[in-house]
């Protein structure tokens, strides 16, 4: 029996769909240069046409056709040699449209497998965000801003070929750099991209993550009911109405927290979260009114607190807020939990304001989509500079 290789690409719906497909295709084609058959497919249960929703692509390669059948026999691989994470905010876990529960980013990795992530952060900043894993694994950070395209525009910042170059270095049994470069010339006809793959191959390094490192929390799970336990007629019980919100300082109860889905939390969809400067809030209600997910809780003192288990990070609240710096979207990698900002502010206003000033200091760049004509051309040179 030959050897079976599996690589998963964890990406965000819409913005990284083409990127993930390119990487997966590139893996199979490069391996084919070395005589290995393979297949590439997006997980069918995903909904990659939804903004930001975590989704997966898989590349399965084998040393021979018979062994490849073992990979094809599964709906999706149960373990992978390499996990590619094209957005570092996915480190907190993946709850896909079709997945009931939170899946740690490193869940499918084999012991000593490689987790490749595109990020500007250092390994020690990223490791605490991912869940702990029983076996050690290798973390490889490919320097660069996570690549986000628009719905119609592919941001060709060479992330696809740089990932392929990194794989050639970390798992040479799958394919070597020469095969990657040959594939690039065949597929993309771009010598510059072949050079980018070479640079990634040369520079990629790994850090070993041990079982005592990472987020110790147990990811939330969901028990699937038996057919006899489900209500008939495809009737799903409604979510109960909400209730009042309690002030952590005065104990006063008031405002309104709507009832929410307890088994599907939306936060894994988020690359950014709104942070609110309650001192600047004029209680105009616009964020609460416009939020497409009704994620704002109304507090007893009349503020609007983005509930971070329900917020999917779309940024509408920031866009509609009339007050400067009142609502600011900040990249998710800055935060380790989903606790209430309003409660933190009520308990320790000074400490909260210090954090807030730190979070919004650099007017963080919005991470997804293109919002004006020419943004693509404007961003690319900066990106190549960041990548070195």
């Amino acid at each position: 029996m030959g050897r079976l290789f599996a690589v998963e690409i964890v990406y965000r719906g819409i913005f990284q769909k083409k990127l993930a497909a390119n990487i997966s295709r590139g893996i199979v084609l490069a391996a084919h240069k070395e005589g290995k058959p393979g297949i590439s497919f997006g997980r069918y249960g995903d909904s990659p046409e939804r903004n930001g929703i975590p989704a997966k692509y898989f590349a399965i390669v084998a040393t021979d056709e018979t062994t490849l059948e073992e990979g094809k026999a599964k709906y999706e691989p149960k373990e992978v040699d390499v996990t590619i994470c094209v957005d570092d905010t996915l480190f907190k876990g993946v709850e896909s449209w079709a997945w009931y529960g939170l899946q740690p980013i490193n869940k499918l990795l084999k012991p000593d497998g490689a987790l490749i992530v595109t990020s500007l952060k250092e390994p020690e900043e990223l490791i605490p965000l991912a869940h702990r894993k029983e076996a050690p694994y290798k973390l490889a950070v490919l320097k660069g801003t996570p690549s986000f395209s628009g719905l119609w525009v592919y941001k060709d910042d060479h992330t696809d070929v740089r990932i392929l170059g990194a794989i050639a270095r970390l798992l040479p049994e799958l394919f070597g750099l020469a095969s990657v470069q040959e594939t690039i010339r065949d597929e993309w006809h771009n010598e510059l991209k072949a050079t980018s793959a070479l640079r990634a191959f040369e520079r990629i390094g790994t850090a070993t993550v041990t079982p005592d490192q990472g987020n110790p929390q147990e990811p939330y799970k969901f028990e699937m009911p038996k057919w006899t336990e489900m209500r008939e007629g495809i009737a799903i019980p409604g979510i109960p109405l909400g209730g009042k919100v309690k002030d952590p300082v005065t104990g006063e109860e008031g405002g309104w927290r709507p009832g929410r889905n307890t088994t599907f939390k939306k936060w894994a969809t988020r690359t950014m979260r709104p942070v609110v400067d309650f001192e600047k809030c004029i209680k105009c209600t616009l964020c609460w009114l416009q939020c497409p997910d009704s994620c704002f809780d109304v507090t007893p003192d009349g503020y609007y607190d983005a509930n971070l288990e329900a917020c999917c990070g779309c940024g509408v609240c920031e866009a509609v807020c009339p007050e400067k710096d009142c609502v600011t979207m900040v990249n998710e990698t800055r935060f380790e939990d989903n606790s209430s900002q309003w409660e933190a502010w009520r308990k320790e206003p000074a400490a909260y304001d210090t954090h807030l000033a730190e979070w919004i200091k650099d007017r963080p760049e919005r991470s997804h989509g293109f919002r004006f004509k020419g943004q693509y051309q404007q961003e690319l040179p900066n990106e190549f500079a960041r990548q070195g």
Binding site: G45, A98, Y100, M224, P225, K226, W227, M230, R231, E232, G233, I234, A235, I236, P237, G238, I239
Partner: protein, 410 residues
């Protein structure tokens, strides 16, 4: 356009009377007696006779219901589906390609556990446009969770419509039921029908109680959300369980019917005629029973011991019971008033199903399949005798084609 009848007509405690009405009118009368709340219509022959009779009942003030003329069959079935989800007793129906045009709505109805009762005025599928009877329209939903029943006279049409409501709306089942009435032979010919009294019908038919599946603000539920492979098998299994419980509920309904109305249909699932001493039997559905029975009487004068099994319930299919019954005979001939092109042995739908039902038997009788009476062509007495001769030949072991077209110009 929705026509709302504001007043509630007086419901007189009439005693049983006899009326000269068509099979379609009998179904309309059953709707009145069952106090159906929402009815939708869209004209297509021969089903449209039912909507005409219901319209007359409503305009005469004899019946109180929402009577909605939809802009097509798809909407027609969707409207009653939603009304039923909201707790209304509903009725609708169609024929031929009209029924097929409603296919998407027909498909989603069983999974949502909607106990809709529909009348199919069986009609050949286009093309060519033909009004006559073929059973392919109703049979098109045979895999989807619809209960399907065939009747052969107007009295049975009325009685079966009442039984259909009782069975479909039983919480153990909660599946739609289509009553097939052969176009022309049943929908357009009048016969003397006993109309039961309202009190007896009220005693026979419990209120429709949708329970925790009721779509109502007091019972907040989402119905039919998107689901993936993590849920589909469980949902299908639930629907299958409803169908598996249906035979018992059907038996109970016929027993109760006999108690209250005094009419005994015997075995609810299939009706046996002169089978006690029969050597061979013919099996069929719908109004072809009339020529078959007459031909059998004539053949018996010639000493041929022939019987007839008329299938009433096609879904659920009483496979074990039927196999047990058919195992008594030397050979079986199945008449299909339908076609299933490319099916095993080129047989029609009924023959294929009966053949499957017989498979577990240790000693299977030889089975011959016939395609006959398509598009409303008359099934003649010589046709039936011709088929019976072939079945006798099969019993004697004479090899012949497993499926034969009868009454064809050739």
């Amino acid at each position: 356009m929705a026509e709302v009848i504001a007043h509630t007509p007086e419901r007189k405690p009439a005693t049983e009377k006899t009326s000269l009405i068509t099979g379609s009118e009998a179904i309309a009368v059953a709707c009145k007696l069952a106090d159906v709340d929402v009815i939708t219509g869209y004209p297509i022959r021969p089903y449209d006779t039912v909507m005409q009779y219901i319209a007359k009942l409503v305009s005469n003030g004899e019946m109180d219901c929402e009577y909605i003329i939809a802009e097509g069959e798809h909407s027609q079935f969707e409207i009653v589906k939603h009304a039923s989800a909201c707790g209304a007793r509903v009725f609708c129906g169609s024929s031929g390609v009209g029924w097929m045009y409603a296919m998407e709505a027909l498909t989603v109805t069983p999974a949502l556990r909607i106990p809709m009762v529909a009348m199919v005025g069986n009609r050949a599928l286009d093309d060519p446009g033909a009004f006559g009877v073929e059973h392919n329209d109703a049979l098109a939903v045979r895999d989807l969770g619809w209960q399907l029943v065939w009747v052969d006279n107007a009295q049975e049409a009325l009685d079966t419509a009442l039984i259909a409501y009782r069975v479909a709306e039983d919480r153990r089942v909660f599946l739609p039921c289509a009553i097939s009435c052969d176009g022309a032979f049943l929908t357009h010919s009048q016969a003397l029908v006993k109309i039961p009294s309202q009190e007896k019908v009220d005693e026979f038919l419990p209120r429709y109680d949708r329970g925790d599946l009721l779509l109502h603000p007091d019972n907040p539920i989402t119905v039919a959300p998107q689901a993936n492979e993590d849920w589909l098998m469980e949902i299908r299994r639930q629907t299958a369980a409803g169908m598996e419980r249906s035979p018992q509920v059907i038996r109970e309904a016929y027993t109760k019917f006999r108690e209250i109305f005094g009419r005994d249909y015997g075995n609810p699932f299939f009706d046996e005629y002169m089978t006690d001493d029969a050597d061979v039997v013919i099996v069929g559905m719908g109004t072809l029973s009339n020529p078959v029975r007459v031909a059998i009487r004539e053949m018996r004068k010639e000493g041929k011991k022939v019987g007839f099994v008329r299938m009433r319930w096609f879904r659920p299919f009483a496979a074990e019971e039927l196999a047990k019954s058919l195992s008594r005979f030397k050979a079986v001939g199945i008449i299909d008033r339908d076609f299933s092109l490319g099916a095993p042995h080129s047989s029609g739908v009924l023959a294929t199903e009966v053949r499957a039902a017989l498979y577990p038997l240790a000693n299977r009788p030889p089975l011959l399949a016939f395609i006959c009476g398509l598009g409303g062509r008359e099934v003649t007495l010589p046709d039936v005798k011709n088929m019976t001769d072939k079945v006798y030949a099969a019993a004697a072991g004479k090899p012949q084609p497993s499926t034969q077209w009868i009454g064809l110009r050739e």
